[in-house]
């Protein structure tokens, strides 16, 4: 699944955080009710973020070399 697909997955998870506990689990007075549901959502959010960010480039940014502490733009920005 693409990053876009996983992002949609997060939105669906968020929506379910409202619908499921207030609807389906409203009468389940036990640990396997809303508590477990929100636990599972939390874990799935972590998984989704791992997948969304897997395309992030691994290299250092081009201007990461030891330097005089300034970017080219910053040198021009004395006020």
């Amino acid at each position: 699944m693409s990053a876009r697909g996983w992002i949609w997955g997060v939105w669906i998870l968020v929506l379910s955080c409202y619908v499921v506990p207030y609807g389906l689990l409203g009468q389940v007075h036990a640990w396997y009710g809303s508590f477990l549901f929100w636990c599972v959502v939390g874990v799935l959010v972590i998984v989704a973020n791992i997948m969304i960010t897997r395309t992030f480039q691994t290299g250092e940014s081009p201007d990461a070399e030891p330097r005089g502490d300034e970017l080219p733009t910053q040198r021009r920005r004395r006020r």
């Binding site: 409202y18 640990w31 009710g33 809303s34 960010t53 021009r76």
Partner: protein, 509 residues
């Protein structure tokens, strides 16, 4: 728990924290040529591991182990759901983080408000965002200070006064942020984050064990407090209240500058990914632990007069050995201080960069930095005075601050996705939207029966869209900004950061 034991722990924490803060000093934050980017952003060279721990310590504060545990005590499992919705909202970092990072590299932004001012081509947007942030974040910082006051007073049985606790945390926050700017904040944050998670998890396991284990804890809850395992539960989390609490917090990672400023800092996108995933793992554990504390307190002490006392009472009880209790107390103190110092540092960078430098247009970076350092303790004193008002329900006040800040969200999202957005639209949404939130909280009004937390975002969106459509956009700055943001993940930011146009925000403002 004896007062001597509490003070000994605080002094050890102070010495270790100050040692780490001094060791973190480097030429980028304390050398002769230090500039705004060096002091407030660590020269955009922060690594992923430290960033993850610091992001965690900044985000999670006294609110979690005092406020969230208290909310769980009072309202049941709905408190967990509220925090999980916030947690899911941090996914916005995966979407917006690379964009912030790319435009920050290219245009040299130091603050999120500076970014908005440049994107919309109007310095008034930067000024308004900075002032709104101060208006809402100083009370938020005060809430953290009050959390420490309650904690120390509660655990010492009143031997250490509320005011003493507030003074201690204020002084620590000033020292940790002043010594080396963001570097001392991030390194002390990292130490504090590790301390927070290890100590709080140990206590949770110990308390749950002494109450008979997980199965026994939840069986007791199901038998004696069945409503606490469902929503709306005992009544605190009606659906509209839940919605009003969760909407502002869902956007916390964008609306709160002390965390959105962190998106400018990672050395690479790989570091940003490590920061995000590291934070999510930390955050999930910490949330579960805090909720378990609240449930444990409900089982052990079902008749507390005030829900905010759930954690101090639990820590001072026979379920927690005094030495471990005092270690966690220091962990909570660390959680509060690590949030306050980041807020102070961010606000001082905004006031010097976006307010002072836009008034004194000839001010050099060195002068801006000097002003920023002077502003730091002033913000701390304001937060201290606010905390002294001793407003009671910590969590609700904290959320009120987030409600106020959510009015900045339409302008931030519009900056990256809506070329037609204008400076007037951004200003209207931030200024009028902020005033609407303040008016709703002051009057206690609930139009159509809905709380301010639900109204803030739609009001701000409507203002941003309508006013933008009625005014003329700055297409040139919008186009360059959005093109730069769009290169973020496709090329690892190389196009954005490597092909600087030389156009700085100041060239436009």
């Amino acid at each position: 728990m004896t007062t001597g034991l509490i003070w000994s722990a605080v002094i050890v924490y102070l010495i270790v924290g100050l040692g780490v803060a001094f060791l973190s000093r480097g030429k980028t934050t304390n050398g002769a040529g230090v500039d705004m980017s060096g002091y407030f952003l660590g020269n955009r060279q922060m690594n992923g591991f430290v960033s993850a721990l610091s992001y965690s310590a900044t985000t999670y504060s006294a609110f979690m182990m005092v406020g969230l545990a208290g909310l769980t005590y009072a309202g049941g499992v709905g408190a967990f759901g509220f925090e999980i919705v916030y947690f899911a909202g941090v996914s916005l970092v995966a979407i917006f983080g690379p964009k912030f990072w790319a435009v920050g590299k290219r245009f040299g932004y130091v603050t999120p408000s500076e970014m908005l001012g440049h994107r919309y081509g109007d310095r008034k947007v930067a000024v308004a965002t900075a002032i709104a942030s101060c208006l809402f974040l100083i009370p938020y910082a005060a809430v953290q200070l009050a959390g420490v006051g309650y904690l120390l007073a509660g655990m010492s049985g009143g031997a250490i006064s509320f005011t003493t606790g507030v003074v201690v945390s204020t002084v620590l926050a000033i020292l940790f942020s002043y010594i080396a700017g963001i570097r001392s904040v991030m390194w002390t944050d990292s130490l504090q984050a590790l301390f927070m998670i290890v100590a709080s998890t140990l206590v949770a396991l110990l308390v749950v064990h002494s109450l008979g284990g997980f199965a026994e804890l939840f069986d007791t809850l199901a038998t004696e407090h069945p409503a606490s395992l469902t929503v709306p539960g005992p009544g605190l989390f009606s659906f509209t209240t839940f919605l009003g609490l969760t909407i502002p917090w869902f956007f916390f990672s964008l609306s709160n500058p002390q965390v959105s400023q962190r998106l400018f800092m990672p050395a690479s996108l790989k570091s940003m990914r490590q920061m995000l995933i590291g934070f999510l793992i930390f955050g999930f554990l910490y949330t579960v632990v805090s909720v378990l504390w609240g449930f444990s307190a409900l089982v052990a002490f079902p008749d507390l007069a005030q829900s905010d006392l759930a954690t101090p009472t639990l820590l001072a009880s026979e379920h927690v050995p005094p030495v471990l209790g005092v270690i966690v107390m220091v962990g909570i103190l660390a959680a509060a201080v690590s949030t306050i110092d980041s807020i102070m540092l961010t606000l001082s960078s905004m006031l010097s960069r976006d307010v002072y430098a836009n008034i004194a247009t000839a001010a050099s970076e060195a002068t801006q930095l000097k002003v920023g350092k002077w502003v730091l303790p002033v913000i701390a004193i304001l937060a201290f005075l606010f905390a002294e008002l001793q407003l009671s329900l910590i969590a609700v006040l904290s959320v009120a601050a987030s409600t106020g800040l959510v009015v900045v969200v339409p302008a931030i999202i519009g900056a990256f996705y809506w070329k037609r957005g204008t400076a007037a639209g951004a200003l209207a949404s931030i200024v009028i939207g902020g005033l609407v939130v303040i008016a709703l909280y002051l009057s206690g009004a609930k139009p159509l029966g809905l709380p301010a937390g639900i109204w803030a975002l739609p009001v701000a969106v409507a203002l941003f869209v309508i006013v933008s459509l009625l005014t003329r956009p700055n297409r040139e700055s919008a186009s360059e900004f959005m093109t730069t943001a769009g290169t973020a993940t496709s090329s690892g930011g190389r196009a954005a950061a490597g092909e600087s146009s030389g156009i700085s925000p100041d060239g436009r403002l």
